[in-house]
Amino acid sequence: MSTNTDAPKALRNTGNYIDDRFHLAKTGEKNLRKVFPNHWSFMLGEIALYSFIILIITGIWLTLWFKPSMAEIVYDGSYERLNGVAMSEAYASTLYIDFDVRGGFLIRQIHHWAALIFVAALVVHMLRVFFTGAFRKPREINWLIGIAIFALAMVEGLFGYSLPDDLPSGMGVRILQGVILALPVIGTYLSMFLFGGEFPGEDIITRLYMLHILLIPGILLALIVLHVLILWHQKHTQYPGLGRTDRKVVGTPMFPAFAVKAGGFFFLTFAVTTVMSGFVQVNPIHLFGPFTPTSITSGLQPDWYMGFMEGSLRIFPNWFDFQIAGYAVPTAVLVPGLVIPGLIFGALAVWPFMEQWITGDKRHHNVGDRPRNAPVRTGLGVAGVVFYGVLWAAGSNDVLAETFHISLYWTTYFFRVALIVGPILGFIIAKRICLGLQRRDLETLEHGYESGIIQQLPSGEFIEVHREPSEETVSVLESKLEREKILAAQRSVTIDQHGVESPESRSLVGRLRAWLSHWYTKDNVSFEGAELHRGHPPEHEREEIERRRPPGAAEHPGRERPGRRQLRPGLCHAGERFPTGLRASDRAGRQVGPPPAARTKHQAALSRPQHPSQLRPPPFSRETRREPQNPPGGF
């Protein structure tokens, strides 16, 4: 096939026209060559971006008819069932969109489903970034922007949900007002100013409308653009694999392939949202009836992303309410309404800096961690997910109680306990699973896969043939070594660059840091010194492998194949050189670590940098390392 490198005249003229004015040839090419690593989980943020675009398009369309007015009217429109019902103009105009504007019902449902999917995509995108450590330097700022987008998206959703002025939406506003009123000293003022008087007043929808269609989406749009620009500038993180390093990104270039893929994905996202909107009824405000402050429905819930707030309002008890000189401080409203979301978002925002402080890891990272290789972070993430999930489930405790015929109060008690116990269990279990997976990875590296083929050697010995992991797999597994460099670096937390225990580490904060650092890194299945074993290919395959080995294979340093080889050269161990500092961390470790006798064999298998001799774990001897089911296999 011939390739056309001469641009057609029309295109050339356009290009020249633009370049004459903007001098874009070089920048343009550079940007079209931008590389995006391939993985489905890297598309999660795109789902959010595309949902946001869908929201803007449909939202603009909806404003053509929506009247953000709370003027009370008696409905006299084409939806017969509600004729003669007193309602606000906002509600009536929403009915108009639903029943008088062709496609109105569809577009309103697209808007609503897209909102639900938007926030859901934000959450899974955020979890992906968290669990792979993609928030680390140099991407902390973008992480913070992401948190801001998440928080704003929730508020934006709440306000949008409130606009049609139907029964549940008005209750959402009522609860919002209740939380505002609970604020000490300023609460009543804030409420009066926001609502233009008492609840519900005649202004709130007009004001929420402005916030919903102008202010918050404006800020959101700016933040999202900034988020994408920073991503563009810094380039996307990638998962470990062949040729992927902290200095080099491997993936599909923007032009032509990625642009087509991303464009296609926009249409696919839009299509899924639309097919749901066409067939699954969402937020049927015409069935709810208009808002009145005196009516309520059972099973009242906010949209899912406010569910955790609803849950925390439900399960937080009134035990801590108190008064100051007769003035009420209703902590049962303030804590779940403000402190708990503050805690969740605060913890998210602080974590990248916290982790950096704990580990002392100030390097740049462009290759994501495999979650198993950062067990404490993964454990904390799971704990956070469980915490959020319990609150979320508690937000529908009445539906659960009704569905499963459980006592309503018992669901509350259960969630109160689960909120505390659940995250702890989640942390422990997730961390254990991570360590187990690490051990399996090491097993794979050292012994390959069990093939299930039994072969008799000329000596008469039977062995099970182990298959060598592919080079790709090896490079993925080896990424753990990078991680271990970081673990090694953490020792610098207590030692200054001269190898002397830093005075800082003796202070209270220093000890805390050393303790946290120890806690963060103590459990780890070290890969260092592990020997890659090719396993035992059957005789005929051995020849095959020889034959297939490309001439260029020797180019790779440290890749002597076949046969066993040492993984990358040993790491730099600050601790070995600076035993003084080690004692500090050792001391810190002893404060929390279980006494040696209490350690199970299982724990003992983990490398604990507690004693200088343990620092570099001895290359695993076969006696301790080999699992019984893995026969020696003729070394």
Partner: protein, 203 residues
């Protein structure tokens, strides 16, 4: 009947007795044990005919059509379903929900699903207060207002879902969130997996 556990709330079950037997039972109760319950006006359609009580398909269909016609007439007879909606939302929805799907009460009890109830069952429940339900007698809510209320509910219940055939049982936001995650997001992620799937011959 009989209830196996007097503390647990009885769920709605298909009746074991025929209508005739129930009528006899009620007559016996009123005669020998108790006083008659509050009156229910004529013209409030009773129970949906049950197939088992009719010998052949034809007479059952006839009875069913008759019942449906009576319900239709009852609903048509209501003059102010807007007032009915107001009454329903103020006095009923907090337990039974906006769509009549029921809701949780304390102590493991629940407000039952209203969507299978006949107009007469509505009416009787209001004036007799089964279980934990308070009474709404004919003075606080007059028979005409009760008719409005029932008509509102039946109209709402029978209204097709303008937003699509899957109405998620009209549960509301919990079901919507669940579907948004399990169907919406999952389908989109499936598309993402398709787009980014590895194209390779081995490994």
């Amino acid at each position: 009947m009989p209830s196996m556990n007097p503390d647990a709330q009885m769920p709605r079950k298909p009746p074991v007795f025929t209508q005739e037997q129930i009528d006899d039972l009620v007559a016996y109760y009123e005669e020998e044990i108790g006083v008659a319950g509050p009156p229910v006006p004529e013209g409030v359609p009773g129970n949906m005919p049950r197939r088992a009580e009719y010998g052949d398909e034809e007479s059952y269909e006839e009875a069913k059509a008759e019942y449906e016609e009576a319900v239709g007439a009852y609903v048509q007879g209501a003059d102010d379903t807007a007032a009915g909606e107001k009454l329903y939302l103020t006095n009923c929805a907090h337990c039974h929900g906006w769509s009549g799907g029921g809701g949780a009460l304390t102590g493991g009890n629940f407000a039952p699903d209203l969507r299978e109830a006949s107009p007469r069952q509505f009416y009787e429940a209001m004036v007799t207060g089964p279980g934990a339900m308070p009474y709404f007698n004919d003075e606080t809510i007059t028979p005409d207002e009760k008719q409005d209320l029932i008509a509102h509910f039946l109209t709402l219940e029978n209204e097709p879902n303008a937003g699509g055939i899957f109405a998620l049982n009209r549960v509301g936001q919990v079901a919507e969130g669940f579907i948004g995650w399990t169907v919406g997001l999952s389908l989109i992620v499936a598309c993402a997996i398709w787009i980014t799937a590895k194209q390779r011959a081995h490994d």
